[in-house]
C-alpha cells in the first residue's frame, strides 16, 4: 500500500474518532438534561423530580471529588447545607431573587470548602471522618440560637416568598446540565488527567510536574460548588426547612451510594445510579423500609465485592468484549 494513502486513511480514522468522542460528550450533557426537562410530562410529582435531579448533581459532585481524586467525603452534606442556607441568607438578607440566591448558595458552599481545604492533608478514613465532623459542626453552627439574626437559628428557614415549583424545577434542570458539563470537561481536560495521575500515584505525578495540591484543591472546590447549587435549588423547592433537614447525613450516604452504584470516574454512571436507586427508594423504601434497607445493603455488598467500578464498568467491559468478538469474527 502506498504510504500516502495509509496516512490519509489514518488521519480520517483519527478525525472520525474525535468527532465520535465529541458527539458522545455532547450527548452525555444533552440526553440527561432533555430527559429531565421532559420528565414533568410523565411524572406530575415535580418535587420528586427535583429531588432526583438534586441527587444526580450530588452524585456528580461525589464523582468529581472521589472518582477523580480518591477522597471519599462522608461529610459532603455540609456543602449541601451550606448551599441551602446560603440561598436562604441571600433571599432573606440581601433581597436576591431565587435564581441569583441559588447561585450564591453555590458560592457559599465554595467559601466553606476554602475554609476546609486543610482537610485535604488527611487521607482515607481520616479524611472521611474529618469531613463528617466538619459537616456536623457546620450544622450546629447554623442552628445556634446566637446566630438567629443571620440563619434564624433553630427556628428554621422560610423561603416561601420566592417559592415556585416550576422555577425551581427548571433551575434544577439547568444545574443538572451544568454538572454534566463539568464532569465531561473535567474528564477531557488537563486537570482531569492530572487528577487521575495523582489518584494512581501521587509521587510519580508530582515528579511528572503535576501540582498535586492545586489539582486536588480544584476538584474539591468544584465538587463543593455542585453540592452548594444542589442545596440551593433544593432549599428553593421545599422553601421551609430546618437545619436538620439540609444537614442530614443520609444525604451524603445516598449521594455516595448512587455514585458508586453507577460508577465513579464515568460521566453517566452517577446519573444512572441516582435515577434508578432513588426511584427504587421512593417506590419501595417508603412503605417497606426494612426490605429496602435489606436490598440496599445487598446491592452495596455486591458492588463492593464484584463491581467496584459500578454498572458503568460492567457495561463498558461488555461493550469492549463484544467489539473484540466482532473484530475476531471479521
Amino acid at each position: 500500500m502506498p504510504e500516502g494513502v495509509a496516512g490519509a486513511s489514518g488521519q480520517r480514522a483519527t478525525r472520525a474518532q474525535t468527532w465520535r468522542r465529541r458527539g458522545a460528550d455532547v450527548a452525555a450533557v444533552l440526553v440527561p438534561t432533555v430527559l429531565f426537562a421532559l420528565a414533568r410530562t410523565v411524572d406530575s410529582n415535580l418535587l420528586l423530580l427535583v429531588t432526583i435531579m438534586v441527587y444526580v448533581v450530588l452524585a456528580q459532585g461525589v464523582n468529581v471529588i472521589y472518582g477523580f481524586t480518591g477522597y471519599l467525603p462522608f461529610g459532603y452534606v455540609g456543602f449541601f447545607g451550606a448551599g441551602a442556607y446560603g440561598t436562604y441568607i441571600a433571599v432573606a438578607h440581601l433581597g436576591a431573587g431565587a435564581v441569583e440566591a441559588t447561585v450564591l448558595g453555590g458560592v457559599c458552599a465554595v467559601l466553606v470548602a476554602i475554609v476546609l481545604i486543610p482537610l485535604l492533608r488527611l487521607r482515607g478514613a481520616y479524611f472521611a471522618i474529618a469531613s463528617l465532623a466538619a459537616a456536623l459542626a457546620l450544622s450546629s453552627l447554623v442552628s445556634n440560637p446566637s446566630l438567629q439574626s443571620v440563619t434564624n437559628g433553630p427556628y428554621g428557614a422560610d423561603l416561601s416568598q420566592v417559592f415556585s415549583s416550576g422555577g425551581s424545577y427548571w433551575t434544577a434542570v439547568v444545574i443538572v446540565a451544568f454538572a454534566m458539563l463539568v464532569v465531561v470537561v473535567l474528564r477531557r481536560s488537563r486537570l482531569g488527567l492530572q487528577l487521575r495521575a495523582v489518584r494512581a500515584d501521587q509521587v510519580s505525578a508530582s515528579y511528572a510536574g503535576v501540582n498535586v495540591v492545586a489539582a486536588r484543591t480544584g476538584a474539591w472546590l468544584l465538587s463543593a460548588l455542585l453540592a452548594g447549587l444542589a442545596g440551593g435549588v433544593y432549599a428553593w423547592a421545599i422553601s421551609t426547612f430546618y437545619p436538620t433537614a439540609v444537614f442530614d447525613t443520609t444525604i451524603s450516604l445516598f449521594a455516595i451510594v448512587f455514585a458508586l452504584f453507577g460508577g465513579v470516574g464515568t460521566v453517566l454512571g452517577p446519573v444512572v445510579g441516582a435515577v434508578v436507586l432513588y426511584y427504587v427508594y421512593n417506590a419501595i423504601g417508603v412503605n417497606d423500609p426494612q426490605y429496602f434497607q435489606l436490598i440496599f445493603g445487598v446491592v452495596i455488598v455486591v458492588i463492593a465485592l464484584f463491581l467496584p467500578g459500578g454498572l458503568a464498568a460492567v457495561l463498558l467491559g461488555a461493550r469492549r468484549r463484544l467489539a473484540t468478538r466482532g473484530a475476531d469474527a471479521g
Binding site: 433553630p154 427556628y155 422553601s239 433537614a245 417506590a283 417508603v286 458492588i303 463491581l307
Partner: protein, 425 residues
C-alpha cells in the same frame, strides 16, 4: 473467571432492582385513586405520613394510630358527613412511611397531593417533618391540618392553606411553668435546651418570663438536638448550684438526660423535662420509677381530661375505645392529637358548603372557639395558628410499683400538691 464473577454480580443487582421495581409498580397501581369532580366522590381520601423508624418514630406512630382510629370510627358509622354533597361518604386513608427523613417526607407530600389527590391532608409529627409540606400544600391549594407542628414560620397572613388543629405553638407552653417557679420562690434556675424550633421557643419564653419576674437563670445554654450524652453538661449545670433544672428536648433527649442524672451524682430540688407527660408509658419503660419519680413535666391529655366535649369522644371515652382498637398501643398525647386533628377535618367536611379546600378552611375558622374535643378547646388565630391549648405543670409520683403523673399547677386544675423539694435518695 473474573468476567464471570462480574456478570454474576451484574445479574444479581439487576434481578434485585427489577424485582423491586415490579413490586413498586404494583403497589403504586393499587394505591392510585382519583375522585370524580363532577359528582360526589366515592370516597374521601385522607393522606398522611408516619415514621416507623428514626428520631420521630415514638411520637409519629401514635399520631398515625390516632388518625387511623378516626377513619375506622367514621367508616363504622357509614362514612363522614360531607355537607357539600349532603351525604355520608366512605373514608380512605393513604399513608406513607417517611422514616423521619424530611427529604423523603417532601417527595411523599408531593405524591399525596399530585398522585393520590387527597382531600384531607394531615402532615407527620412535629415541625421538622411538617415543614416540607407547607409550601407544597400552599402551591397546590391543599389545606394542611397540622397536628403537632408548632413552627413559628408556618403561619403567615398570606397562607390560608394551613390550620393548627392539634398542638399549640410551643412558645406558649411554659407560661404555667413560669408561674409555678415564681409561686414556689425558686430563684436559681438552670435551663438547658436543644437548638431546634420546638425547644428554643420554649426556652426563650421561659427566660423572658423569669426575667420579667426578676429571676435571671443561672444557666441558659443550648445544645445540639442530636445530644444523647449529658454527663459534662449536667456537671456544668451543677456547678451553678441551681434549685431547679429545666431540660427542654425531644423524648430522645429527655430519656438519656433523666437516665444520666443519678450517675452524674448530683441531686436537684426540681427537674423538669418535656416529654414524660406526653409519652408516660415510654418513659416508665425507658427511665424507670427511680429516675423519673418526683420530676416535673407538662401535663397533657389524657392526663388532663376533657369530660365535656361537643365534637367526637371525650377524653375518657377515647382512651377506652382507643385501647380496645389498639391493645398494644399506649393511649398517649400524640395519639390524641392525631384523633383531635382528624376531628377538626371532620368539622370542616361537616360544615363546608362547597367541596373546596378554602371552603373547608372557612368552616374551620368559623368553628374557632366554639369546639371542645378530647384534647381541649379548638381556637385559632386569623393566620390559623392553634391558641386554645393549655398545658398545666405535672409531677411524676411513684405509684403501685410504677408512676403516675398528677397536675400540681395551676391550683384550680391541680389534683395534688407539688412535692418540692424532691425527696433525696
Amino acid at each position: 473467571m473474573k468476567v464471570h464473577r462480574r456478570l454474576l454480580g451484574l445479574a444479581g443487582v439487576c434481578a434485585a432492582t427489577g424485582g423491586v421495581v415490579a413490586i413498586a409498580a404494583t403497589q403504586a397501581q393499587a394505591g392510585h385513586t382519583r375522585a370524580s369532580a363532577a359528582s360526589a366522590p366515592k370516597q374521601i381520601v385522607v393522606g398522611t405520613l408516619y415514621a416507623s423508624s428514626g428520631a420521630y418514630a415514638a411520637d409519629s406512630i401514635p399520631q398515625y394510630d390516632g388518625v387511623k382510629f378516626w377513619v375506622n370510627q367514621m367508616n363504622k358509622q357509614g362514612g363522614v358527613y360531607v355537607a357539600a354533597y349532603k351525604k355520608k361518604i366512605h373514608v380512605k386513608l393513604v399513608a406513607y412511611n417517611d422514616q423521619s427523613s424530611p427529604t423523603t417526607a417532601a417527595t411523599l407530600y408531593s405524591q399525596l397531593i399530585t398522585q393520590n389527590h387527597v382531600n384531607i391532608m394531615i402532615p407527620d409529627f412535629g415541625s421538622v417533618l411538617t415543614a416540607p409540606a407547607v409550601s407544597i400544600a400552599q402551591d397546590h391549594h391543599q389545606l394542611l391540618f397540622d397536628a403537632t407542628a408548632s413552627g413559628t414560620v408556618f403561619f403567615t397572613p398570606n397562607n390560608p392553606y394551613i390550620v393548627g388543629a392539634g398542638i399549640r405553638n410551643s412558645a406558649f407552653w411554659p407560661d404555667p411553668l413560669v408561674q409555678f417557679l415564681v409561686a414556689k420562690h425558686i430563684k436559681k434556675i438552670a435551663i438547658l435546651y436543644d437548638a431546634n424550633d420546638f425547644d428554643a421557643a420554649q426556652a426563650a419564653t421561659l427566660d423572658h418570663g423569669l426575667i420579667a419576674h426578676g429571676v435571671k437563670p443561672v444557666y441558659y445554654q443550648s445544645t445540639a438536638t442530636t445530644t444523647t450524652t449529658y454527663g459534662t453538661l449536667i456537671d456544668s449545670i451543677a456547678a451553678t448550684n441551681p434549685q431547679a433544672v429545666i431540660e427542654l428536648g425531644y423524648n430522645t433527649n429527655d430519656i438519656p438526660f433523666l437516665n444520666t442524672l443519678p450517675s452524674a451524682g448530683h441531686k436537684f430540688n426540681m427537674v423538669f423535662t418535656v416529654f414524660p407527660g406526653q409519652l408516660p408509658q415510654l418513659f416508665q419503660q425507658q427511665v424507670g420509677t427511680k429516675n423519673l419519680g418526683y420530676t416535673y413535666t407538662y401535663a397533657t391529655p389524657p392526663l388532663v381530661p376533657y369530660p365535656k366535649v361537643n365534637l367526637g369522644l371525650n377524653t375518657a371515652q377515647f382512651s377506652r375505645a382507643f385501647k380496645a382498637a389498639f391493645p398494644s398501643q399506649a393511649v398517649d398525647y400524640p395519639a390524641m392529637a392525631g384523633y383531635g386533628t382528624a376531628l377538626i377535618a371532620q368539622e370542616a367536611l361537616n360544615k363546608a358548603t362547597s367541596f373546596s379546600q378554602l371552603a373547608m378552611r372557612r368552616a374551620v375558622g368559623n368553628a374557632s372557639g366554639k369546639l371542645t374535643t378530647a384534647i381541649g378547646q379548638f381556637k385559632i388565630t386569623k393566620d390559623g395558628e392553634e391558641e386554645g391549648e393549655f398545658l398545666p405543670v405535672g409531677q411524676v409520683f411513684p405509684s403501685h410499683g410504677g408512676t403516675a403523673i398528677k397536675v400540681v399547677y395551676p391550683t384550680n386544675l391541680a389534683t395534688t400538691k407539688a412535692k418540692y423539694p424532691a425527696p433525696k435518695g
